[in-house]
């Protein structure tokens, strides 16, 4: 990809899922590939379990860190409800969604005091929003096979790096993880990435 072919990406998840790590890995991979990058993170207070939302903008000459509405070509969904929340506002018609299928419902929903959303409903809603493709992955199951639940985010990065339109190479993502992850968790992370990418 040339440095002047802009590409936007959103990561949607909840606190504790490692979405900040995921956006850091992508930003670092872009830097390694010489592609300009700007990331805006939005997260609640320090607490666990709040919504986390990263906007990643690649290959622009100059741009703000915020993605315009209804223009995002690719959403990496670490949690389905959060994915739908961001897709509603940002997904471009025909945009792609890579979706971890493990729902983490807010407490009020678990208590039956707020509407709940199941996977089929989320899928239908994403289609109604004009999603061009929805790739579903049980990232938790893959991560558990690769060594632990904690790397479900990295499994998703693996899936992401195998998406055709995603402008960064698998090798750059590997190098970036080598730079970003703690040494002790590196083998697990690299295995999870490979599994996610189907390698």
């Amino acid at each position: 990809m040339s440095a002047h072919e802009p590409f936007d990406l959103i990561i949607a998840g909840v606190g504790g899922q490692g979405s900040l790590f995921a956006s850091r890995v992508i930003a670092q991979a872009a830097l390694l590939e010489g592609i300009s990058v700007r990331v805006a993170e939005t997260y609640g207070v320090a607490q666990r379990g709040g919504a986390v939302f990263s906007q990643i903008r690649l290959g622009y000459d100059v741009c703000g860190p915020l993605i315009p509405k209804k223009t995002c070509p690719l959403i990496l969904g670490l949690e389905p409800i959060e994915t739908l929340r961001r897709a509603t506002m940002y997904l471009a018609p025909g945009g792609e969604v890579v979706l971890n299928t493990n729902i983490n419902a807010p407490l009020e929903t678990k208590m039956g005091r707020q509407p709940s959303l199941d996977l089929p409903t989320i899928r239908t809603e994403l289609e109604r929003l004009g999603a061009g493709s929805i790739e579903e992955v049980d990232a938790l199951a893959v991560a558990l096979e690769a060594g632990g639940a904690a790397t479900a985010n990295v499994v998703m990065l693996g899936v992401l790096s195998s998406v055709d339109t995603f402008p960064l190479s698998y090798d750059a993502v590997v190098k970036s993880i080598e730079k970003t992850a703690k040494a002790a968790s590196l083998p697990n992370n690299l295995l999870s990435l490979a599994r996610g990418a189907g390698r």
Binding site: V14, S23, R24, A27, Q28, L31, S36, V37, R38, V39, A40, E41, T42, G44, V45, A46, Q47, R48, G49, G50, A51, Y60, D61, V62, C63, G64, P65, L66, I67, P68, K69, I81, L84, R85, T88, M89, A105, P106, L107, E108, T109, K110, M111, G112, Q114, P115, S116, L117, E125
Partner: protein, 626 residues
Amino acid sequence: MTLNPTLLSPTPEEPLLALGNEAFARGAIEAGVQLATGYPGTPSTEIMETLIEAAPVLGFSAFWSVNEKVAFDVATGASFSGARALVVTKHVGLNVAADSLMQLNLVDIAGGLVIISVDDPGGISSNNEQDNRLYAKMAEIPALEPSTLEEARELTRRAFEISESLKVPVLIRSVTRLAHMTSALTLGTIEAPHKKPHFDSSRQWSPFPPLAPHGRLQKKLRQAAGMLDAFGVDTWESNGTERLGIAAAGFAYNYAREAVDRLAVNNRVALLKVSSVNPLPRALIRKFLEPLDRVLVVEDVAAYLEEGLLLEAAAMGKLVEVRGRRSGALPSTGETLPDDVVDALDALVEGTPPRLPGEAAKPASIPNRQISFCSGCSHRTTYYALAQAFDNLGINDPIVVGDIGCYTLGFFPPFNILQTMTSMGASMGTAAALAELNPHRKVIAVIGDSTMYHAGMPGLLQISHQRLPVTVLVMDNSVTGSTGQQPHPGSWQNSDARTLVPIEDLGKAYGLPYVRVVGSFQLKKLPGILEEALSSDGPAMVVSRQACALEPSEIGRRAIVATIDEALCDGCLACIDEFGCPAFVPAADGLGKIEVEALQCTGCAACKFICPPEAISFVRRDSPPT
């Protein structure tokens, strides 16, 4: 946050990935800053965190001050000693230091003194969205507003140069989206160590009498215009034929450029980027305005540049339509959003009035995520005990005055207990008057430890002095919790080289007749002590103490986990509706009972006594939570 060691490298290397706030810190390092201080506050905190980690390695001084005024005065002392000094604050923090700023501006300082104010357009993590460029105008000091990480680093260096050569404090205005943007940063060279500090006793350091210094200040500002012009921080992109223009202040330049690119009108729209906030680049503004019929101004919060352009146009005797936040072409509140700028520019290009952006419709069907105290948070048990104390004493119309910190979540379920919250430390004075004017009601002022040190102490003194019947409940979790566990004068996390000043010692020294300290998790004791305090007729202080659950030494400390006996749990939901620890979730079997999510539970055991049928007990766990 952990320090990226590349930020300390003496010479330029490959660009590194950095946060906007790290770029400001690097700029100060490159300028050879000798003393940096501030008070934690989102979105500014990471600047000082980076400098505090860098300081011992590079051999300068960096530390948290008790509040922003103290920080400003500390920096003043450093500057008077000839040292380069930095003050870091969030926008509202500069209000606390404003008294000092409005007088130091008149003094010929020695070492460069730079203030970085991170404004929070839209109030994403603040009570307001004030625009601190207006402080620069009021104080008549030079001010800069960077648009990228590179400029954040470079303009911080420049700010020190201007400050030192003109002997005047310089303000840098940043915004949340720059502070918390991650992007590539290219480094400059670190300047050789600055001259050794020395306080010159042969002169006086005061603005009094202020008239002559005021004249000198205005002269400095005129000289600043020349320096800023020479630095070339402002840019004008034009092919000389455009009739339309877009002018952007600081970070908003990114939105302006993006809008021009998106609408592909680069050949039709002249572009002015203004990074010198005060004084505005008048000559460049004139050149920009000269050929134009219409201009859109993009900036965050106030119509500062917009008004500047209007004034300049009037002074030129030029008729030009200036659109922006003031004219209504862009929303007059909230942060700048890319779609709004595109719409407003589109309208300008078409000659039509702008479509005013509507609120984005939020689909009702997506469940919200309510924020709550962390599992293992001491504030939860303190509020729980306070509610119990009210119940036990039959108090049904208490006045509970809040303050600023994590405990502000007491406004929300399950406690819904707080009734007021304004500025840092305001709980003390507010409670004083509420107690005086509502003599038949119980008044409780809830304040955090860090907030008490910051701005609560004078008000506490007043409560004590006036003998007002206020119960001061200090939520003491030993750190500044909400900004990421920074230490303060009562933190045991400080090194041995610092004297600890516990809150209860303040209460005693100030003469409060009732002062008690109790562990926040002690739900057998805490309600009774609160009842005693509430029943006393003078001022009383209860310090509820337990380290923040996110304090590093707390994490993973306990080898037990709560568990619920399914046979005993009767589904009363007291653990969720009255206590609300996020570790409690409906049991998977869907029979209306509750279970504990082991990964969420910190093993704090604070919930031991909150379950009516006593279904909660504790078992050992093999691996502690992370």
